[in-house]
Symmetry: C2
Subunit: 389 residues, 2 copies
Amino acid sequence: MYPEDFKEEKELRKSKIVEALNGADAILLSDNANLFYTSGRVFSGYTYIDASGNEIYFVRRPVGLKGDEVEYIRKPEQIPAILDKRGLSMPKSLALELDHISYNDVVRLKNVFADSEIVNGSAVMRRVRSQKTELEISMLRESAIHHREVYSRIEKVYRQGMTDIELQIEIERQLRLAGNLGQFRISGQSMEIFMGNLLCGDNADAPTPYDFAMGGAGLDPSLPVGSNGTQIKPGMSVMVDMCGNFTGYMTDMTRCFYVGSLSDLARKAHNTSIAICHELQHMAKPGTPTASMYEKAVAMAEEAGLTDYFMGHAQKAGFVGHGVGIEVNELPVLAPKSRDVLAVGNVIAIEPKFVIPSVGAVGIENTYVVTEDGLDVITDAPEDLKELY
Amino acid sequence: MYPEDFKEEKELRKSKIVEALNGADAILLSDNANLFYTSGRVFSGYTYIDASGNEIYFVRRPVGLKGDEVEYIRKPEQIPAILDKRGLSMPKSLALELDHISYNDVVRLKNVFADSEIVNGSAVMRRVRSQKTELEISMLRESAIHHREVYSRIEKVYRQGMTDIELQIEIERQLRLAGNLGQFRISGQSMEIFMGNLLCGDNADAPTPYDFAMGGAGLDPSLPVGSNGTQIKPGMSVMVDMCGNFTGYMTDMTRCFYVGSLSDLARKAHNTSIAICHELQHMAKPGTPTASMYEKAVAMAEEAGLTDYFMGHAQKAGFVGHGVGIEVNELPVLAPKSRDVLAVGNVIAIEPKFVIPSVGAVGIENTYVVTEDGLDVITDAPEDLKELY
């Protein structure tokens, strides 16, 4: 089933989940991110973990998985008999991913576990996954190495006269050649994006339906976000915020470029973004409320006279940072109403960005690991604006 | 809101939905594919259509959408007051996407529509969307033109010594440069793939968790499908089954290549795939049960002595074709237990494929429009095996 060297890790993750069950007797998971988290791979089926620490993978596909925990099923209705065969009683209360799996899937599982009280396991898993294990952090660090390396090649792939999408395609290719898996995993159904975002000129101010930090009209109304074919011209900034999924774990990193010259306002905003990142890194430690980090960022933007441009112009995002991991929108969230408090093992992206009309977007984004000593940046690479020519 | 030239189309789609409501007083949609279908663009919010033909877009984001049908909301709890303001009564029965949206989203909407009987709107929309309008067919035809054109360049981007993923990356780049949106839309949560599938050698026989026709181990256990870094060597086939999403509507098309020489068995299987496609195209017309098309394909594979290899070897897919459109797994399905019957306006992909151990996958896939005269192939391009050198 899982790789041999994943055995200890699997036990560790299981114990974290058992500890977080919060009174539930068991949890049944079927979301791909949670299957990957619990088993080290994606399969079709369910991971079942009970409060005593029993773990079973109920697998529909692929054929051929091995291991004591593997039980092949065609349908979830077979689960109770298998639990019984293993001498396990049906859970009095069962946690399911009520925020993630479909209504009809839950109804079906409720019938399978007809005598169980159903509670919400989505919150359990969000909380557990927000504090990464050492292995997860090493996978994020590995993603960051490749992410940084590809970003260092952006100036080389730029050619004069390119459109935003043409430059994006060359960066996509470099990412893929460096081992990027492409997949941009986002929790929930409504947000979609293809491999990330590259914005320049007025397109940076086009509002999108999605809860991303930045916008862009996109190439088509079926996917209205990001590059829209704008030709990159002197005076424009080019913001690159592309996917860092090299290991199943995604780092988030933004760097900015420009062509010709850039307005003082845009330069000031970019430097303010860097200053905000440095200040938040400096102030944050385990125990810091993430809302206070958001407020600090807002205050620094205001102090610089840049409130109108902060986190968007025509439409603003309501956060300056977020957890990353298997998915790009994990906990904690750096937002005004968040009650999250930083904890050791959190991995967060901080992205104080500005949209300057007719110039584009400026600012940076880094991914940080929360350690006992504070925030350790894993996407450390030059943060200044770079000229494309 | 929607493009000006989408007005008539919007009315047409609305009337198809109203007709399919099957006794429900209204339907409330929030899945991106259904929002795109009903409004011509993706937004964050809901499309509401009642049995009298009233249509409202309840929009959270983006800011700035215009039109009589647009009502801005922050949360679904505001919907009843807006219906009341418009003189519309609350529906006695309301269709929701119970197969698609999360349990907790449905629970929340049930509270908003506390006096309404909730019925399943997922089935309504699947059925409506299975019969494409003329505009949708033209968008599929446009995707097909680009899809074919890029496939004609595959031989040019191949270089000796490439791995499967290296070739895939060059095809991805060609697709993107030709306007491919990248996004591979699949209904439901469990299937994931990045821009399609390229398989060669034994990797073609690696079983996956996903309900795709073909497999592949993938590059990482977080996305176990497709290319795995196999070096393309003489004697191997290379199956290319990449995403055709150029317009928000996806064509599906597979072509096969080889390096050096190919075994007689593989050549025979490839030619059998072509023969099956031609035979199914010949036999199919409006009214044809899709199960009979599946059975015909199985019989032809058996007659050729190729049953062991048909639709996979270690793990087999249970279908030979499927509807395509905004998503890649639409109705009708060409599977043994399907009760679907071909109808004018269906757009289907037929993909009778074979996995030949140590060679790879062979066979073709085309996309067809069901017309009154039968099946019109829109991915018409040479179907024979092509040598890469």
